[in-house]
């Protein structure tokens, strides 16, 4: 299968691969390895005054190059943004940018689900629900 430059760059050099730890970090995951796609996002959220934003994102990914690249793009775009539980761009638009076959849309939704899960955990913390915070021991 041929991959476009964006997919190949994020697949070959996933700059934000890894995990985060700390009281200001939140984790979300989706999918399963047995189903062919699994993604985990860790986000570090800063809260100063009334404003909050995503300071740092890391991810782990099991999947095809398009899935890995999609996770990389979402992680890149997510840094610096508001911790809202939605993708910086629609998954359909992301699929087009990565030139992924339409048959892979289902796998790309796994990326979206993982991202939303991580940001929902972050939002939950704002409501004094700290159970999804990542402690060093949990990583």
């Amino acid at each position: 299968m041929k991959y476009n430059e964006l997919t190949r760059r994020h697949f070959e050099q996933p700059a934000r691969a890894g995990t985060l730890a700390g009281p200001d970090c939140y984790r979300g995951a989706s999918g399963s390895r047995s189903a062919g796609a699994w993604i985990q996002f860790d986000v570090r959220v800063s809260r100063t005054g009334g404003a909050s934003r995503v300071l740092e994102v890391r991810f782990l990914a099991f999947g095809c190059p398009h899935v890995i690249a999609a996770a990389g793009v979402v992680a890149e775009q997510g840094e610096g943004g508001a911790p809202e539980p939605r993708l910086p761009q629609s998954i359909h638009s992301l699929r087009e940018r990565l030139d992924a076959p339409v048959e892979k849309l289902g796998r790309l939704f796994v990326v979206e689900d993982a991202w939303i899960a991580a940001l929902r955990h972050a939002a939950g913390e704002r409501q004094n629900s700290a159970h999804d915070q990542i402690t060093p021991s949990s990583c």
């Binding site: 299968m1 697949f11 691969a17 699994w38």
Partner: protein
Amino acid sequence: MSASAVYLDYAATTPVAPEVAARMAECLTREGTFGNPGSASHAYGEAASASVEAARAQVAAAVGAEAADVVFTSGATEANNLAIFGTAQYYRDAGRHIVTARTEHKSVLDPCKELERRGWSVTYLVPNADGVLEPARVAAAVRSDTVLVSVMHVNNETGVIQDVGAIAALCARSGRARLHVDAAQSVGKCSVDFAALGVDLMSLSAHKAYGPKGAGALLVSRRRGAHLTPILYGGGQEGSLRSGTVATHQAVGMGAAFELASAVLPTEHERIAALAERLWRKLRVLGGVLRNGERAARVPHLLNVSFEGVEGESLLAAVQPHLAVSTGSACASATQEPSYVLRALGRDDRLAESSLRFSLGRFTSEADIDTAAEVVTRAVERLRQLAGA
């Protein structure tokens, strides 16, 4: 694919040997044997016919057959189709049941499926976990209305060699079922003796043995009285079993390639086996790797390995810039299907997908093997780390 990528996909195809290409070229131009081998009325045709017959003798000699057994075709796919449809049609009044295996090549399975659509009954046997089709199970599947058993000699994905001789002996006892063997992957990789094996029909391919693409043959045992109904009609060439002008250069290329393959087999067998073991020793260090068909008799040039903890398409994409290998799955399309061969061996979908087939050949060097091991090791470690494994 970079031209500098290490080529380890010799089971898919091989480059034409230079001496073979030279022989073929002699048949194409005005100065050479360009005549129609069917034109018996002039010297051009006679010269071409002589070249074809010499090639027929070379092919026969390489696989222990009589020259009269050799029916040139456009390749092993056509040979398999001719064997299956031709036998089914010829013996249609004797019975309409075929026995084959789930791990056969598509060019056997698809004709069988087509015959099922036409009202035939087909039994698809499942090999054991090592890919071996136990002869007793084949014999047990043969019924009173079975007219054909079709089994491949060397599996194209795992390299596992079936005990064709034992299967042939058991089929012979049934008295009615003809045995067809797809030996497309065998020539030059292991010894093939058509007559000694006691099979009725055998498919051969030229381009797997440093011959040209678009050339193959079906061996039809005259001694055993095998009969076929042709699937192509026209000029009655090839004993009326395969009408159409014989492509002299293709036949000559196949003959030369098979002769060469037989000559180098003893030395190449040992050299390739050592290289394949070197690759396996290096990959095994990774852990979580499985050699498919490990406990079975195999040809040395083929090493099929499943890698735990990595996704198949990503594994292939990670190694592709540096290595020309194929995956155990038909992963090149968006509609990915894990290898049906590996699934038949009991591998789950994920493991079947994350398999690589390394097939070594005449031009594979020790340096190629070391590069391959390094590239795959780096890719697997990176993907496992990325997946948090």
